[in-house]
């Protein structure tokens, strides 16, 4: 059973077709009907409502942060969210990792002919709610329909922009020896929610995606430490990839403590069954920060006071030793490398 949509007060408007037709992407009458009845009611705002070929925006002074991402997740609905949540949260989080509050989003949709209107509506409702929570407005967009089989149900590309506050310069190249590495919560929830849903594996308690917008947490961190060195949300490739990107960009090493990294028991169970390392699994509502050592305690306290950072922990530190390598001290006191994944993790035979 799929989770219920977050708002029950917006039923699917009456449409002439219960499935997306090629003509819905033709630019003609059906296209206009789709936009008017399905898209505009969800994202209505003064900029979008002008329906110009472009959005014209007033931005505060400062450096503009911009990020774009395409979402192709299968299944499009999963425990804890949908492709609509990801399309908003994924992009606003990439903007937020610069320290900028996300302001505006552009959204482009590729729809597969035959997609049920009810599914499209449900995705749009999820996007509306996610945008509301993240505090962004969708100011421009596009919709295309491709023949059945030319894409898988729905692909969404979103582009977000925000303005970086003065004095904030966050970069993966800014880690310094002595920095603390802070992880905002548990690992691998999103990736394992997708994998177990896709495979129809059921566990005692259902694994939920952690998809969430993270700017609120970032703002709470910046309020106590405007000189955060690096921030990244460990999505595809997981925490291992983010940490390896840090050490490569900054030419430093990172030492992790295995015992400080937390994984929910049901997620750990699914990882054990499938032979997958949670360090390599995608997250959609977590961040990893490198902060100056002396500021670590304050940042950690601020994070734990925020709903998205209750389980935050200092999981390691930056060192001048072994530049380019992430080394993990195991619970038993030995050391091992945490490598950059070669490719997609594949379940083992035995």
């Amino acid at each position: 059973m799929n989770p219920v949509p977050p708002r029950l007060s917006c039923p699917l408007p009456i449409m002439d077709h219960d499935r997306v037709q090629l003509a819905h992407g033709s630019g003609g009458l059906l296209s206009a009907q789709l936009i008017d009845r399905l898209f505009l009611p969800r994202f209505a705002n003064p900029i979008l409502n002008r329906l110009e070929d472009q959005a014209t925006l007033e931005l505060p002074a400062g450096r503009v942060a911009m990020s774009t991402d395409t979402f192709v997740v299968d299944p499009i609905f999963f425990p804890g969210g949908s492709i609509g949540d990801l399309a908003v949260n994924g992009t606003v989080n990439d903007v937020a990792m610069s320290g900028a509050p996300p302001l505006y989003l552009a959204a482009a949709f590729v729809l597969e002919e035959g997609l049920p209107m009810a599914d499209l509506h449900r995705v749009l409702v999820a996007m509306e709610e996610a945008a509301r929570v993240a505090g962004v407005v969708v100011v421009t967009g596009d919709t295309k329909v491709v023949p059945r089989g030319a894409c898988d149900k729905i692909f969404i590309t979103t582009t977000g922009i925000g303005v970086v506050p003065e004095g904030v310069t966050i970069s993966a190249a800014s880690l310094r020896p002595g920095d603390a590495i802070i992880l905002s919560g548990t690992l691998a929830d999103h990736g394992m929610a997708i994998l177990t849903t896709r495979q129809g594996l059921s566990f005692h308690s259902r694994i939920q995606s952690d998809t969430a917008a993270l700017y609120g947490l970032v703002a709470a961190m910046l309020a106590v430490c405007p000189t955060i060195h690096a921030l990244r949300d460990p999505t595809r490739g997981g925490a291992a990839t983010t940490l390896n990107e840090f050490v490569r960009s900054s030419r430093v090493g990172i030492e992790l403590e295995e015992g400080r990294i937390t994984v929910r028991p049901e997620v750990q169970g699914a990882c054990e069954v499938l032979g997958i390392d949670p360090l390599f699994v995608a997250n959609e509502g977590k961040l990893i920060a490198a902060v100056p050592g002396e500021a670590a305690a304050g940042v950690l306290a601020a994070m734990r006071n925020h709903p998205q950072g209750r389980e935050a922990a200092i999981i390691g530190r930056v060192t001048a030793q072994h530049p380019g390598l992430v080394v993990l001290r195991t619970a038993l006191g030995a050391e091992r490398i945490v490598e950059m994944p070669v490719a997609e993790q594949l379940p083992r035979i035995c």
Binding site: G269, L332, R348, C350
Partner: protein, 365 residues
Amino acid sequence: MRFVDEYRDPELARRLLAEIRATVTRPWTIMEICGGQTHAIMKHGLDQLLPPEIELVHGPGCPVCVTPLEKIDRAIAIAGRPAVIFTSFGDMLRVPGSCQDLFMVRAAGGDVRMVYSPLEAVKLARQYPECEVVFFAVGFETTAPGNALAIRQAAREGLANFSALASHVLVAPAMRYLLSQPTNRVQGFLAAGHVCTVMGLEEYEPLAAEFKVPMVVTGFEPVDILEGILLTVRQLEKGEHRVENQYGRSVQPRGNPAARQVIDEVFEVADRGWRGIGIIPASGLAIRARYASHDAEKKFAVTAITATEPTGCVSGRILQGLTKPPACPAFGRACSPAHPLGATMVSSEGACAAYYRYQRRAVLS
């Protein structure tokens, strides 16, 4: 997490390590048979914590690693045909054959799908009667019951479009082969707990007696492995050579009779080639004549495809415990998981891949 955390308990591990240190008086070479154990040893860094007298060498128990090149080439040949749905466990898809892997077949238009159970492949055969559905039945005695069950199920349902490309290997004959070599260095074995869960302990008694080596059936968590090592060292120090069961929570002396029965119904013992080693007599499972119509090698007439292992890779010696990955000049340089030169680097459970993944810092520095 229950049933995992207690076997990763650092305090218990420290106590076992202290006991191993107190027991050992001279050098011993112990082989862990299973790739899953090698992986756990490297992942948890157990080799770094053991006293220097104990050398762990890594056995041939990685089914992906020992699958012969020609078997992979046959899989690739079948998977590339039209109207074939080729299914496999995930980690076989990346293993290079002579010139490509199954991912490349998929990119070129082949219908290659990853499944988590052979019964999923049977389901596909039911769902797509117009297609030939082939399952790459790879593994040791651990996956053999499930794979046998799938073949039997397809036969019972009359699914003529289901077949299996069988590449099953058996552990005990490989241990006999290793012990029979004049170059053998192994003085004690950690036998593979999961294999024994299916097969029981019977096959090991004659091996332990004939070759005078202790054999301790061992699990896969750090505490299991350390306890297995402790039991082996105790026997070695006392000059004993018995079969002992560390993995009692899973392994019964007679194994799993129902699983053994279905293996025996569908498969028969046959000579088998091991990548990097060569043919070991009576070390594999072939599909019985009764189920020949579900044997993909016969159905697609691919037995003529043969391949020669490239020279210059020491994986055969590594699989026999004669050398270790750090001793190979190509390790981490010409050979890495992204560009594997041989069997033990291709699978995440191969010894070279485990060293590369977790311990290459110590090796390369």
